[in-house]
């Protein structure tokens, strides 16, 4: 699946300033791995022990992946995978 991964401003220092990265992946985990292949420093910024850090939220077309299958959530062609900080609100 060809999907777009959206990178928040706080992480663009490790993606050469890129805010949107086109990758292939059947699941959220695969799509993120494809992004990490291009920008290795991003991996340790948002993951820990193979999972997402606890203050990282990931959405597929606006839906929090924790309401689906987490990193196993399946993707469709053209999906947007959005990474956002989880420390806002309230």
């Amino acid at each position: 699946m060809a999907v777009t991964v959206k990178i928040p401003a706080q992480l663009r220092g490790v993606t050469d300033g890129e805010g949107e990265i086109e990758v292939e992946g059947a699941t959220v985990g695969e799509a993120l791995d494809a992004v990490f292949d291009q920008h290795d420093d991003l991996r340790e910024r948002i993951t820990e022990d193979g999972g997402l850090r606890r203050f990282v939220n990931v959405y597929v077309s606006g839906e929090d992946i924790r309401f689906s299958d987490g990193l196993e959530t399946e993707l469709s062609d053209g999906d947007e995978v959005t990474i956002l900080p989880a420390v806002a609100g309230g």
Partner: protein, 411 residues
């Protein structure tokens, strides 16, 4: 005394005091760090007592080099000894901090006053927020008072009273078709493209500092002493954790002697990600889709959930949840025993207080403070079916007949 830097709560990375809220190293939340090295506790107390009649009396503990100008100063709300409520619950010393007695009738005036002062200092001309209602009221009002433009984002199905009490101030009120977590996600994204000060997104480290003033006032109003236990609501967990920070700061600096109180948090069962994590022994929250009458607490993905869990566990407290029916009973119990009419969030707090008192968690000699964070007139639907109105003709005979019919003793 001055704020020094923003510091990551997870990895201790530091950043300058700007409009930023996320650590670029680990994505953790940023918090304000202060330099209190020249603080003399006795002098600090004197300065506070000679200060203004609101939160700015605590300006030395807020993130400003100098006390800001504030046209709508909140704070110094009543701390009321609630003997009749205590008696009903089998407690000895119970206090109710009625924070509905603020300019827009909730504790949110405190955090917004701090955030807007910081927004002006940083040069913003437009402020914004993601709100479950009370924050919307406060941002709209304080922006109006300060002459700033404002955008207020809320779930479109909010209580009508909260929409009306926002729109009246002339803000741009945006009703988002979704729940609070959708609103919050949208605002987090907007933060990247709009030159606005989102009080609870990019200004959140400063905004949250305002909640410490609730702890400071409690200490001062108890005659410079600490309660043994506090009971308060948990939505994002920001108020709850910053109450802890306020007490800790003053204990560490020697303004008050004693131990951090036991922290009891309360949530509605229909939106209880933190209470559920507490019950299951987890240190993280699994998000929920809220379904409760306590809309002001309806945050399914609480940003400070992990820290609220830590605080409850470290102090020997708990985070409980109560049903919508218990919330309505809590509102009535507080009203009938104290004369204070609270919104659903206060119903959650009082219902939780009753629950933990009922299960014997509270020693009889404890000094307990319950935090009432909002006004009952904002959530009128929650009380609609709780009583009967006796309608009569304007005659004594009809009154007597009606009271007899209703089984009420006439006088």
């Amino acid at each position: 005394m001055a704020p020094e830097a923003l510091v990551c709560r997870e990895c201790d990375a530091t950043y300058p005091l700007e409009a930023r809220y996320v650590c670029e190293q680990c994505f953790g939340p940023l918090d304000v760090a202060y330099d209190f090295s020249d603080l003399d506790p006795a002098e600090a107390r004197r300065k506070i007592q000679a200060g203004s009649r609101g939160i700015w009396r605590y300006a030395d503990f807020l993130p400003f080099a100098e006390r800001p100008r504030d046209p709508l100063e909140p704070g110094l709300t009543p701390l009321i000894r609630a003997d009749r409520l205590a008696e009903r619950l089998g407690l000895r010393e119970l206090w109710v901090k009625n924070d509905a007695a603020n300019p827009t009738h909730s504790f949110k005036d405190r955090v917004v006053a701090v955030a807007l002062a910081k927004a002006r200092e940083l040069g913003f001309t437009t402020v914004a927020c993601a709100s479950t209602g009370n924050l919307a009221n406060a941002v709209a009002a304080h922006a109006a008072a300060a002459g700033l433009d404002s955008y207020v984002f809320v779930p479109s199905d909010l209580e009508e009273q909260k929409l009306l009490a926002t729109g009246v101030y002339g803000t741009r009120l945006i009703g988002v078709k979704g729940n609070y977590d959708d609103v919050n996600r949208l605002c987090t994204q907007l933060c990247e493209t709009r030159p606005w000060a989102f009080v609870n997104v990019n200004l959140r480290p400063y905004y949250s500092q305002g909640s410490k003033t609730l702890a400071f006032e409690t200490v001062e109003q108890l005659g410079w002493s600490l309660p043994d236990r506090i009971v308060g609501p948990v939505a994002s967990g920001s108020l709850f954790t910053k109450l802890g920070r306020g007490f800790s700061e003053w204990i560490d600096l020697g303004l008050v002697e004693g131990d951090l109180p036991t922290f009891n948090g309360s949530q509605a069962t229909g939106c209880s990600p933190v209470a559920t994590a507490f019950a299951e022994g987890r240190d993280f929250c699994v998000p929920q889709r809220p379904e409760t009458i306590a809309k002001s607490l309806a945050i399914g993905d609480p940003a400070d959930g992990p820290y609220a869990l830590d605080l409850a566990r470290e102090t020997g407290g708990a985070i409980d949840s109560v049903t919508d029916e218990e919330i309505r009973e809590g509102i009535r119990l507080l009203a009938e025993t104290t004369g204070i009419f609270t919104e659903t969030a206060g119903g959650v707090t009082i219902a939780t207080l009753a629950k933990i008192a009922g299960r014997g968690d509270i020693d009889r000699d404890e000094c307990v403070v319950a935090y009432i964070t909002g006004e009952g007139l904002k959530t009128l639907d929650a009380t609609r079916d709780g009583f009967e109105m006796h309608e009569i003709e304007p005659t004594i005979e009809d009154l007597e007949a009606e009271l007899e019919r209703a089984g009420t003793v006439s006088v």
